[in-house]
Symmetry: C2
Subunit: 509 residues, 2 copies
């Protein structure tokens, strides 16, 4: 009885707070700028084939299928004709793109700033004379890094390791964690023992130590051998691939909408935090089935795994427990980074009392790598090294993306558009066409990084196909989630098209 | 006595054969074209600082050091001013580049064909609208792949997986091997068991099976967690990084010059082949300390590990023993591929009775991936997948590199220039300034993919620094090898500069 009363009071309180937040947001929404980066953009979808992929997409996909996997194809794209938020396909369909190459296009197709960059001598030199950056950096590398990645470095992290993709970024952060972990164990005496030197050549301990990375259920951190060992999204990603015996902890079993379930969610987060501590502590005991946890890796919002959220308090708890036990904390911002959550870095909203040890990025940055600190720079050169060590051309592109974001205030705008969509979706699910068909809205105060579930996986899949027919291109994630991953140039007018089509599609289910 | 006589007879025979080969080569060398791709190239080095790195390089490197590892820097490069075979540094030094960004520049700095490509709409569209290729390929993808990678596909391999770097290429080939290995074990019934589905989410067998990759001592296959487990080049690459317990076999203990020691080398190769078979067979027995070998990976010439060679017969033996035991054979052509050995693919010189299962590439292709067959395409979509799945812009670049190579007959020319250098180096070591200082020349009939050892590591390191002061930029590998990795536009006139400077440098040691 008491528990039920308390729950009901908490819900009432959450409702009141929600109404106030709604009012605030509506006020803010009125100042969303109406100026567009793409004045010539289409004003509505243009669908000319009864199915997408249409016949030309299918034919081109079949031809690709003669030499390469094509069962994963959505449709074949005419990138030259795509513009801003609109993706054009091989058949002449033009769709509102809310998937953006799996969340990796930041500022729109054929953004004029980027097209101009491509024609500069600086870009042409960089792209056609690719440096082995670790050994022969270009004369502009220091200035380029400082005016690109340097302008958006997370608080407290002054070092950067540049890489080629998100999986590589995570794996190199793992390597840096392991090296720093062992360096701390060695203490002042930084030298390797002869036994370490010889055993590592046989892939055996102590040179190849039995250390581990801790990750969460439904996490996604990439698909190479180290990153895949930390990935727990779907069996199809992992089946038949040998894996490190690294530990896993259950992601907090939270309920959505998040704020309306804050009390239960806080409890669920406590359970998960306790499990994290237990996993770390037990990893260091003799007889543990896996080696000591050197680092924990976590996404601010579990993206591929279904858009699973947790509160800032949870992440603060993770920082506290990792600090307490000498475990490095890696924040994987490959999908959440670069603005879509309404902040450049999603983790900046946590207001941690001390920064994470690593922040990894890729996707919308178009360049990959991780931020870290001098403490986690390897003790000797060539320990974390490869031929390209990143890409100066993609760094120039990242710099322009960051500049365009700043020049046009795109993060603030994304925040506001996100709030606008959240409100509308909330109503649609509670009282509108979504009722009983879609549920579990998430992403309140997370910019346009929004998601909801289909009631079943089938409903979700049908909805994606219906939306496509209506001219809106979307992507799923997890078992039955539909995720919104528009670009940072997604405005209220685009949101209105999306919401209108969604209502129609839901009516047709 | 008999053995000694036989050895002496074999040597005499090898000498006669060598003289004939020399005559042939001299004949061929006269037809080396004298036309240059870079008519405005410097005709000699231009060294203006007493040390390289000079003061400006050092200053720029120090600045980079504030946010990133800089102890690995050779010098800081002015790529805009570099041209053809000549690399310009921050201080105004212009060096003959025989290292080529760790063997990754194919057709010269600021090659006019590539600069023209960079300005095309096709390239600009591709680079500034990066596709998630596995799901939304561009309309020109089929045509692009067929006119690029497709024109140089190794015999018998009709499928291609595109990736971002050499390590990723190897790791994805490992993944494809493991999946195909398990698929064959499953037979017709291709479905996963519920136990496999659930155990893989915990990184445990049978879903995450205990399978292995077999590699050789001193092999280098990359530095991510899977590829690093197959890499055995140097302890510094591996220390403190957890590793799969995968088996290793000794690289044949051959002697150089290779042809002059063909009999002993054939014996050494037999020993290694027997060890390979033993490792494979024992891996499948219960109680083996590592899981069954699913694939063997091998470089045609072990490059990072010291330019270690073996004969075509050895590789044919590897193909036979892997076929016999159902083990996939991965040929890692990341460094040997794209022409430098005097063939587009080094392994094509082996004349294997059946093709390898995988050929991986990166570096000089500027795009990465692997060739394979339909047998090793995963059973279901999304099993070997990631966001970018390669890069259409880098594929356009690869296409132009391949076309320029073909248009200018660069592989044939490289073969001839390589033979020319080999002869000269042979004389230099046997009878000239190299005697007692450098030794173990390798790369006969391997284009410009040449190497020799310093008598000691110190001699090698001094020689690299002396050569740099004289205006020739070179790289080491292994413990004491100096490797030649010029571009495919390296002509006899460049070779003469190199040989002249080498003689001088050796005289100064």
């Amino acid at each position: 009885m008491i528990s039920s009363k308390a729950t009901s009071a908490a819900r009432a309180c959450a409702r009141t707070s929600r109404v106030m937040q709604q009012q605030q947001r509506r006020l803010l929404a009125t100042v969303v700028s109406s100026s567009s980066l793409f004045p010539g953009e289409p004003s509505s979808p243009h669908v000319v084939t009864s199915q997408i992929p249409g016949p030309k997409s299918k034919e081109l996909s079949d031809r690709i299928g003669t030499f390469q996997e094509n069962r994963t194809h959505g449709f074949v794209v005419d990138y030259a004709k795509s513009q801003g938020n609109w993706i054009a396909d091989a058949d002449g369909n033009v769709l509102l793109d809310m998937f953006a190459q799996i969340a990796s296009i930041a500022i729109g197709y054929n953004n004029p700033d980027l097209l101009a960059l491509a024609k500069t001598d600086e870009f042409i030199t960089a792209t056609m004379n690719r440096a082995a950056l670790g050994s022969f950096p270009p004369t502009n590398w220091q200035e380029l890094v400082e005016t690109s990645f340097g302008t958006v470095k997370p608080d407290g992290l002054n070092n950067i390791f540049t890489a080629m993709c998100g999986s590589c970024a995570n794996e190199n952060a793992f390597k840096a964690s392991f090296m720093a972990y062992r360096a701390r164990e060695r203490g002042e005496k930084a030298e390797f023992t002869p036994e370490e030197m010889s055993s590592c050549m046989k892939n055996q301990s102590p040179g190849s130590p039995d250390l581990s990375i801790l990750s969460f259920t439904s996490a996604f951190h990439g698909r190479l051998f180290g990153s895949l060992s930390a990935t727990r999204s779907k069996a199809i990603h992992k089946l038949d691939i040998p894996s490190f015996n690294w530990p896993v902890v259950e992601w907090p079993d939270v309920k959505y909408p998040f704020a309306q379930n804050s009390r239960e969610n806080a409890e669920a987060e406590k359970v998960a935090l306790a499990a994290v501590e237990e996993a770390i502590v037990s990893s260091k005991k003799t007889g543990s089935s896996y080696g000591p946890v050197a680092a924990l890796i976590v996404e601010p919002i579990q993206s591929e795994g279904g858009d699973n959220h947790a509160s800032p308090a949870f992440f603060q708890g993770l920082r506290d427990v990792t600090k307490k036990h000498g475990v490095f904390m890696i924040v994987d911002e490959v999908q959440t980074g670069v603005g879509a959550t309404g902040a450049f870095w999603a983790h900046s909203k946590w207001n941690l009392t001390s920064p994470p040890d690593f922040v990894t990025f890729s996707k919308k940055m178009q360049a990959a790598g991780f931020y870290h600190n001098i403490e986690t720079r390897p003790s000797l050169p060539y320990r974390n090294y490869n031929t390209w060590m990143g890409d100066p051309a993609r760094t120039l592109q990242a710099r322009q993306i960051i500049r365009t974001i700043q020049d046009h205030n795109l993060i603030q705008k994304t925040d506001k558009v996100g709030n606008y969509i959240y409100e509308k979706l909330f109503d649609l699910i509670e009282n509108g066409a979504g009722r009983g068909k879609i549920e579990k809205l998430r992403g309140e105060n997370a910019g346009t990084f929004l998601a909801f579930d289909g009631r079943t996986a089938k409903v979700r899949d049908q909805l994606i196909m219906e939306m496509r027919k209506l001219g809106v291109h979307m992507g799923g994630c997890g078992d039955k989630a539909l995720r919104l991953r528009p670009m940072l140039v997604f405005e209220q007018k685009h949101a209105d098209i999306f919401l209108d089509k969604l209502e129609t599609a839901l009516g047709q289910l």
